[in-house]
Symmetry: C5
Subunit: 93 residues, 5 copies
């Protein structure tokens, strides 16, 4: 997982059916000092994160398991490979 800041979203009408209804947020990866690292990514939001919030990002197969309403995630066709899985309240160092 890594830390990121939500900085916006993208609008896409023509997309894979498995992405319909998902909020696709633009996230900027950060370090624990809130400084930007690497490049922006697009993450599907599963925790109602708002613009400006600091979040936890998961990539790969784990990202497809982030929809808690769906009990049997492995059987659902889902192209998503990046999800917001938590809102960071505090960095303890």
């Amino acid at each position: 997982m890594y830390m990121a800041k939500v900085i916006g979203s993208v609008v896409s009408t023509q997309k894979d059916p498995s992405l319909v209804g998902k909020k696709l947020m633009i996230v900027q990866p950060i370090d624990s000092n809130k400084n930007p690292i690497r490049s922006e990514e697009i993450a599907a939001d599963s925790v109602n994160a708002g613009i400006g919030e600091y979040v936890l990002i998961v990539k790969g197969a784990g990202a497809r398991k982030a929809d808690a309403k769906n009990k049997d995630n492995n059987r659902v066709r889902d192209v998503n490979d990046c999800s917001i899985v938590g809102i960071i309240d505090r960095f303890d160092k």
Copy 2:
């Protein structure tokens, strides 16, 4: 997922059978200001994206689930690890 601009395509006659009939697009990853980041990739197009369009890219196992006509994607032998899964209409920031 990440953002990219479609800048061309590659022609390949001698290739894995699972890639036959797929449009293999050259995509340049971008940030939300449409500036290029990292290096170009080759992505299979599943949403009819044209040259110059901004798109969403998925990598890994998720990319093999992007063919919506195929209901049981996990059972199809498919080498693809990178797909265009959406056309970006707008960046909201």
Copy 3:
């Protein structure tokens, strides 16, 4: 796997149910001379690593197998993609 130093933790109240009860540590990847490399990540702790300790990090599907109490890990919905799987006692070179 790679080497990292545990430098802190994050607190997240609103998060994926599969992350509840997990210690989410901020880890700084290092080389075998203990110099920092790349950027910080967030790893779920499965070996009771403390702040300042040098640890082994696993990413991807392997990270979801790090909970030894759970015998049938593949069937548990778990979004985690990064785990601390060992405490490094010594670097032999």
Copy 4:
């Protein structure tokens, strides 16, 4: 997927049984202008690519599906995580 140029091969006698009989090519990733990007990788050749040819590379689980003779790839123990899956005839931009 990404583009690469085949620049050589490695000889390995002592190796995982699943790699025996595979041609292990040294490939240099390139962009669509044929300029080198990143560092060299080792890819198993599944399309009879020769030294100097431009090829398509797949990584991860997809690479293990590149052996077309094997119908039920998922059941074969195979450590390979990088395959040449196509020879690029032309870059259209």
Copy 5:
């Protein structure tokens, strides 16, 4: 896959049960001129590689299939995501 040089090992007493008995080697990724690239990784040795030898490295799920004695690797809980799968005798360019 990529090329690396074995430069040491790490000792870890407190670790995931699936890593017990595995030799955890410090490897420095290299290019085909034996120059170092990127940062060091930790790889489980499955081919008895010694310090100073040039080896082939596999990452991800493929790394968990590198234990040839285990016929049904997919069913064994194993956190490892990086294995040495071959010793390089010669670079042909």
